[in-house]
Symmetry: C2
Subunit: 316 residues, 2 copies
Amino acid sequence: MTTSDRVEIAAIGPQRPRVLEALRAEFTLHEIAATDDVAAALGPAAGRVRGVVTSPMIGVSTKVMDALPNLEIAALFGVGLERTDLVAARERGVVVTTTPVLYEDVADLAVVLALDVTRRVTEADRWLRTGKWAAGGQFPSGHRFSRKRAGILGMGRIGRVLATRLAAFGMDVRYFDPKPATDVDYPLYPSGVELARDSDFLFLCAAGGPGQRNLVDAEMLSALGPQGVFVNISRGWLVDEDALVEAIVSGTIAGAGLDVFEDEPNVPQALRDADNVVLLPHIASNTEETRRDMDDCMVDNVRSWFAGNGAVTPAT
Amino acid sequence: MTTSDRVEIAAIGPQRPRVLEALRAEFTLHEIAATDDVAAALGPAAGRVRGVVTSPMIGVSTKVMDALPNLEIAALFGVGLERTDLVAARERGVVVTTTPVLYEDVADLAVVLALDVTRRVTEADRWLRTGKWAAGGQFPSGHRFSRKRAGILGMGRIGRVLATRLAAFGMDVRYFDPKPATDVDYPLYPSGVELARDSDFLFLCAAGGPGQRNLVDAEMLSALGPQGVFVNISRGWLVDEDALVEAIVSGTIAGAGLDVFEDEPNVPQALRDADNVVLLPHIASNTEETRRDMDDCMVDNVRSWFAGNGAVTPAT
């Protein structure tokens, strides 16, 4: 088989060696950096590229699709669709795939964030390491985690796994979702604000669609209240970050566990100075096991498509 | 009622205002610091004291019982019995009570320690706060928590609650206990070393009795292995701390979550310098809700005893 017989694929932005090697074994692979001008970066190959692999944070916009007239499949590493135009893709017959193998890790991170903030784990570790225990200090009490009320914003696949975990801690789970889940028994609330008002923990698990910017705002945080803990393992732009910072600093809420931020990797200094928050660098799916599963899932989608067997995990 | 009609009680070591107020309302209360010479600290009152409240870390030794010839009840704030001579107490007709209302908090702390070490939460928070994310760094991957093998050393009340929590994460729970639990279905291992060899997480939940010093030693840690995480929410003296430090620093095990240490509040500097550990200042039951429940439980035992209704939660 000569190179010209091979299907041509573009990797936009970095991929791990496991992915690059698997793709190179079957396809002609063009590696380019994340760019606003995919056409220029690919040059004449742009007209031949039939598949793309990229991250959801880069995404496949209409502009990218314009630059790749023969694109058939866009395989994303992750599940976020906020930078990929699914409607435009459908119109052009481009199949978009995600890697729906990360739900457990994301739900687990939500649990540890909530537990950590409530029991003051990261704060206590910091306190101990700086020698305050050895100097005779008494670390202040945290709060009990078990048997509290957990509000889940967005009862999708992550929300469901999370609910199962929380139930084992005796948590009373309730949720809000604009599309009510017909197959779960947890009480559905009529709005996020009403959910927050009746929750000790508010977990943001929404997938994040159009019109959802600042879904969590000052009103919802105020409803959560001074004993409430907010956890975000979804997307930073779904939260009014200024309102969140204000709520954390002023005691409007008790604290927060945050894996995502509005302008990553920048985290407001007021949060970095706060003791009642745990701040993570977007690692909800960042485990060796899951990254490997996501790599394989993304590659399998491309392989399966060009073997004529269709996509394995198309986005819906 | 004159003071001399009142039952006299000694509080050895500090108690919180809630406890002091409740006891003063009904009893003549003598407050003394933790001391090796209770007789001297109490003076002539020693012969009149019929009840003691204290912490398990101070305990009620035979020497204390010798100093208090009319002691009827020793009420401990907590469940540890390593510094209280239960056999001697029985011989003298002294009832010892504990506060068995902390199991959920302790089990929850074990979960968060295991999750935190595995997902590198406290480490990532430290990394982010020092500006490494904003500077363009990529935080390394942690490991998946779900669906791993959890070994529980000591299937008592804490171990059972912990097992229920872990099962909700798809964990495969197994245990070792010199007294096999007849009412649980988890596989029983013939020894701690064999348990460690087949576990990704080793949770030390033993109550800690005579002859158990250094129950967890170099051999057991070596059996746990380089992917294994050790969690201790029990007692520091049950672990060979030198062997544990060596295992953590050398990579014999992947990491550890530790709430207790051999010589509290002193924590070896090698641990305080390590990134693969989470170090807590003995806070497993330190939540406002549970401390209040423990306060009330301790006071209720003393009250009930002197009202002629017996102890509420005697140690067995």
